[in-house]
Amino acid sequence: MQPVDHKIHHLGSRLDYAAGFTPALLDPERPPPAIVAGPNGKAAGKRYNVYRNNVTVSLINALAAAFPATQRITGVDFFRAMARFHARATPPTSPLLFEYGHGFPAFIERYEYAKPMPWLADVARIERAWLDAYHAADEAALAPEALALIPPENLVDTIFTPHPATRIVRSRFPAVSIFAANRKEGPESPVEATAPEDALVTRPGLEVAVRHLPPGGAVFLLRLIAGETLGAAAAAAFSDYPQFDLSASIAGMIGAGAFTAARQGD
């Protein structure tokens, strides 16, 4: 008895109330902390549960707001059960809730009940990239005219600066089509696609856009984003995808507003 009493006294006596209050917040198996009570000798159980519920439900709601297509695919009950596991295992480490959920797609990949939907994690990755793009810094996208000013012989050595909103999501599944079908308003439309689909997410103005990249497009753009020259990026794309269409890819990336500047490499 003595050591337990001592510990409770210690926790409740100085400035360590947060250490005493928090362990049971995300663990429904634990009793309410000994440092709190109800008023006038009342019990603390249901009262402490208000905090437990606020924490868990608000984090589930934050995930539901960030991953609406994922929720539409799984249904609300399935999604909220999955999100509850994730929120309890991996609560946020930043007070900016729009940054929460970067680990959620990987969690979905490991989540036993989501195994029959192997594409679900990639849809969630597109949604997470969408939210990154939504809050990214505002910058003007590279104008097509700026590219036209580069002499053709210099194009191969050109290096591009990615727009802060630009994200690439690669998928072994038709994730872009599934995302698009479940993200829009109105009735669900069946997804006919079966081939792998890579996504380009951009936000040159205020609207986030998600595009389905052609074969080799993701390899090409990932190399450019990493700071490689256009020549090196194109060679990598051709090597992996002989059908890669360079001029269409350049036109597509400029039209999407994926980059902000172009300069000559060394």
């Binding site: 709190v36 159980g45 249901k46 208000v50 946020p92 007070p95 910058e139």
Partner: protein, 308 residues
Amino acid sequence: MNELAIHRAARSLAASRFPAHPVAGLAGTSLKHQHLASILADDTQRGFFEVHAENYMGAGGPAHDALTRIRRDYPVSLHGVCMSIGGPQPLDKTHLGRFKALVDRYEPALVSEHLAWSTHNTTYFNDLLPLPYTPATLARVAAHIDEVQESIGRPILLENPSTYVVFPESTMSETEFIRALAQRTGCGLLLDVNNVFVSATNHGYSALAYLADFPLDHVGEIHLAGHATQADDEGDLLLIDSHDGPVANAVWILFENVIGRCGPIPTLVEWDSAIPDWPILKAEAIAAQAILDRHAQGSMSGRANAAR
């Protein structure tokens, strides 16, 4: 306080990006993105808008675009939700820097935070958690308020919490604690009348007695909101500060009581969950404005608050 005054004098020399838009005597509402089109389509009206600071801490995008458009036409109140001022651990300097950047960028008419905490170690719990009221916690919270006010160069309004549990170790009442914070730090107060009613009901004391003890002369803003009902372990009524419905009648009565004593104070109707169409929320603000206007004559002068 002298330092703060110097900060403010220096700031006033710098060019403002927005009109001043005084907030005195006005009612307002939370700014919700789904209402933006309706608000902008309405003729500019009396009133102000309050935003949760954290939702505008991204680098760019539609959130900043919306707040910029609102700020051009209306007074804005910047309401911080997760500074964790009431927590024992040091404030997050990065977060404080983001908060200061928003104050500098949007020049809000009101700036507020909570007597609560939400982060422990590195975990952010996304709720307003309670603290014991003791001399030790008073000193810690006062130091946090000093730090915030020094960083942003102006006083903040500190909001009284809704609580569901008590700490047996507390040696001060909540009103005593809040009064001491205001005296020590020079901060103003954000009196959340719904929180007063919720906490009074939950802890079995009189809301009117709480208000009688509350340092009303430091109040620079009032919050009103709806609450939900549950039961505690004994089967008695337990009110939840849910912000998901209209303001309760009992809260309107307490509000009118406060305004009758203090004169008009900027008053904000919060609605953060189960958000209705704009006209319904707007009607709540119009009801609050009517009460403020009814008590506009003979209002107190020299009120200490953080309004500009």
